[in-house]
């Protein structure tokens, strides 16, 4: 194969789908063929059957909605705090010098380790779930945005100064619009991470949500349900990512033209 040589779109699609097919075939072979104990791993058919029953009889779609709400709630909360702070840190170096060391440190604090503390502070209600996602996302967003804003093209800033911009309008009319697509892209990335935090939050001290269903199924050895839950998370993640991408493209046509 020639290195770096592009592949045609149709072959790309076929190859992409065929791995999924291979994966499912392998899964069916080891489970239906009796190569693993079905207590540990359900086969694809009973996974689908369990999933259908979950949705129809156990009102699993309510759990799905609750999880989605938690992800977006925590994520929006984190964005509202982090985006302005990140821009301020990138634009004004004294602000960066003041906050950057602490934020860099806080970024490495694992969100999941905060769960016991957050339960003490906020109970096991919705607020605690939102806070887990908030803690997990906010420092990441701040840092990435600060770096992007800090590397704003200097020649654009200089051009604006020669056109009469003041310091404040440089931030408002150059730094912010210039970095808006990057900021949106950062948020899309962090939203993906928020999906992992929410499940962790729901595994502990929860009575609803996809994560709760998964931990609940474990005690009943319902591996079909667990796998169905994991796949649902993956699908929702994929869908929200597509939607976010399309939204960004619509919002910033100039960056693609």
């Amino acid at each position: 194969m020639r290195p770096l040589h592009p592949v045609s779109p149709s072959i790309r699609t076929v190859l992409g789908i065929s791995f999924f097919v291979l994966f499912v075939v392998f899964w069916a072979w080891i489970t239906l063929g009796g190569h693993v104990n079905r207590i540990f791993l359900a086969d694809p058919l009973s996974m689908l059957r369990d999933g259908w029953r979950l949705l129809v009889e156990d009102r699993f779609w309510l759990d799905i909605l609750i999880t989605i709400w938690r992800v977006f709630g925590g994520f929006v909360l984190a964005s509202v705090v982090a985006v302005p702070l990140g821009i301020a840190m990138g634009a004004w170096k004294p602000v960066e010098a003041f906050l950057e060391p602490f934020v860099s440190f806080a970024r490495y604090l694992p969100a999941s380790a905060f769960i016991p503390l957050l339960i003490l502070w906020a109970g096991i209600g919705e607020l605690e779930k939102l806070l887990v996602i908030f803690v997990g996302s906010v420092f990441q967003i701040i840092l990435i945005i600060a770096v992007k804003v800090g590397s704003t093209r200097r020649d654009l800033v200089e051009a604006a100064y020669t056109l009469g911009s003041t310091n404040n309008s440089i931030v408002k009319r150059v730094i912010m619009p210039a970095n808006a697509p990057e900021i949106a892209e950062t948020l899309r990335l962090v939203l993906g991470w928020a999906w992992t935090y929410v499940i962790v939050a729901e595994l502990i001290g929860s009575s609803s949500g996809i994560g709760y269903m998964i931990i609940n199924s474990q005690s009943r050895l319902a591996t079909g349900q667990i796998i169905f839950g994991i796949i649902v998370i993956g699908l929702i993640g994929l869908l929200s990512d597509f939607a976010f991408k399309a939204f960004n493209r619509w919002l910033f046509p100039w960056s693609l033209a």
Partner: protein, 265 residues
């Protein structure tokens, strides 16, 4: 009285990693009369762009000062419009919005802006492209927009830092004629930095030749070719004579920069 006065301006860059400080610009004195078109010609790295950036207020001189209409320059401002070599249109604004940028910063109402923008779009021949993003334009069109953007602010002086340096030869020739045509009609004080000898002569009423780094003024040549100038001027005997003279001047400096010794005859 001179429009622009450069008085003993020099620039020294601090040494890197404890090295010797680098002298980029020897003290320079230059007086620019109103509505003069001055080209600053020099080998690359001679500090001509640094000089222009000091006039723009984007860099501070190590010594000396710059006076525009008798007022000292301390920071960049809309009275000194600038066109850069790199494409510096704001990519998130359309052509029309780019041209209106300075007017908007000044707080001008949209209605009033629109009329001015339309006239400058017309001036640089971009009718029909008002709503295009910069990415959709060729390099020449982007620089035309940049010129319109700088002129729309009606600056006291227009500064151009090798604005056509990244364009191909044919486009560059057309851009020279366009800019010169605008200057012939509208009159404006212009400081134009280039390393292209033909461009320097064709555009200028006065060519300032700079030496290799550290830059000083080597010669100051008045160009008395008649206006309006047509591209055929570039093949006239008078033009060739000027070109021969400046080529000799600049060649010596280029060789100093490149550390090449002239071949023995």
């Amino acid at each position: 009285m001179s429009k622009l006065l450069i008085e003993g301006v020099s620039r020294t860059f601090a040494g890197v990693r404890g090295g010797q400080p680098v002298k980029a610009l020897m003290p320079i004195d230059l007086a620019v009369a109103a509505n003069d078109f001055i080209t600053i010609l020099g080998p690359s790295g001679c500090g001509k762009s640094t000089l222009l950036r000091i006039v723009a207020g984007l860099e501070a001189p190590s010594e000396g000062r710059v006076l525009l209409d008798g007022k000292a320059v301390t920071r960049p401002g809309p009275d000194r419009g600038m066109v850069f070599q790199s494409y510096t249109l704001f990519p998130w604004l359309t052509v029309a919005e780019n041209i209106a940028f300075g007017l908007r910063e000044r707080g001008m109402a949209e209605k009033e802006r629109d009329g001015i923008v339309a006239s400058y779009v017309d001036l640089v021949g971009l009718k029909g492209f008002e709503n295009h993003w910069p990415k959709q334009l060729s390099g020449g069109m982007q620089q035309r927009t940049a010129i319109a953007r700088a002129l729309a602010n009606d600056p006291e002086i227009l500064l151009l830092d090798e604005p056509f340096g990244a364009l191909d030869n044919q486009t560059r020739g057309l851009m020279q004629e366009l800019l010169l045509g605008i200057w012939e009609r509208r009159k404006k004080t212009v400081l134009f930095v280039t390393h292209d000898i033909e461009e320097a002569i064709f555009m200028a009423s006065r060519v300032i030749v700079m030496t290799a780094r550290p830059g000083r003024i080597k010669s100051d040549v008045a160009i008395d070719l008649p206006h309006p100038r047509h591209y055929t001027l570039k093949t006239s005997p008078e033009f060739s004579a000027l070109k021969a003279r400046l080529t000799e001047d600049i060649r010596v400096e280029a060789m100093r920069t490149a550390q090449v010794k002239p071949a023995e005859p």
